[in-house]
Symmetry: C2
Subunit: 159 residues, 2 copies
DNA sequence: ATGTTTGCTGCAACCGCTTGCGTTAGGGCA
DNA sequence: TGCCCTAACGCAAGCGGTTGCAGCAAACAT
């Protein structure tokens, strides 16, 4: 859970993205273990959003011995390598973005529970304001904004 | 527990903001209990940000029997009444904003752990974009944006 | 092959917070 | 003042995720 570092080969296909990991890890003095191989296999078959719990489940389908702490620690490593990102849902729970995917944030309606994505263009003005007024480089994929959607503002559900 | 009071006007003393809560609750069919009174006393002496754990600690200083679940449930109620707001830190942990306070979001540096506040003016463009493009009314106090501060971009701490 | 280094694993405990449930007690009304 | 309804409480278990530690095993060198 540290720094963003885009993987140069990330643009290509999913397979190509994940196939280089073994060497990426070794180049950094890290190790390629059966447990990591399992998680990477799961991730390479995953698109969009996943929670940590879902990933543990899917790993267990391949290797029933899978331990949560190992999975979460490996997710941290993979995020350092720039292969995944995580954000937090409205309740603070982790959600992982599996690459390749356009970087995006989320908006969440407190009333109906609906969620939508915010693209770079929609966030551009905020990111620029942060850059100029705070000299801050924001991580859009870690952004979740809560509030009320149009439908709920007009017709508040029962409350 | 409650003994007759010779001087009915004595207890007041709290901020105008917090003094109406008892009646606010009753008007909604909710109840004014000793546990809620303790939490409200703590909140009325609190400014800025507090975590749930801190609030439980401070309640225990007044009433050692304080139970976490009761505190968190009461915090939910008070947020419904609009007396506090909560957001999530970069790690997803809850932080409560005690009113009166200008509504604001937070930015957080993944490298050095520093945090800063975003005011309404700095968020205005984002909020407007969300309103126009998604017809979404955002809750600024629930916003935490992670990224890197200027100092860390120029001189990454050891990484 | 074998040894050595040290990153990684599994475990168990823990943290912040939530939830289901049986019991207590607030508070409107007689 | 006492009754009654039900909101709120305390407890214990649970959930998502993290952490310290002792043993294990990748990786590289010999
Ligand atoms: Mn985070
Ligand atoms: Mn704040
Ligand atoms: Zn909605
Ligand atoms: Zn920083």
């Amino acid at each position: 859970m540290t720094s963003p570092r885009p993987n140069p080969s990330a643009v290509i296909r999913g397979d190509a993205l994940w196939s280089g990991i073994r060497d990426d890890l070794r180049a950094r003095g890290l190790r390629w273990t059966p447990q990591r191989r399992t998680l990477v296999e799961v991730l390479s078959k995953t698109q969009g959003h996943v929670t940590g719990v879902q990933l543990v489940e899917r790993c267990r389908a391949i290797d029933p011995e899978t331990t949560p702490s190992t999975v979460y620690r490996t997710l941290d490593v993979l995020e350092d390598l720039g292969l995944i990102r995580h954000g937090h849902g409205a309740d603070g729970r982790e959600e992982f973005h599996v690459l390749p995917a356009a970087e995006h944030g989320h908006i969440y309606c407190h009333s109906c529970g609906g969620t939508w994505e915010i693209g770079h263009d929609q966030a551009a003005s905020l990111l620029e304001t942060l850059a100029s007024e705070h000299r801050f480089t924001a991580d859009l994929s870690h952004v979740t904004i809560a509030g009320r959607c149009a439908a709920c503002l007009e017709a508040p559900p029962s409350a």
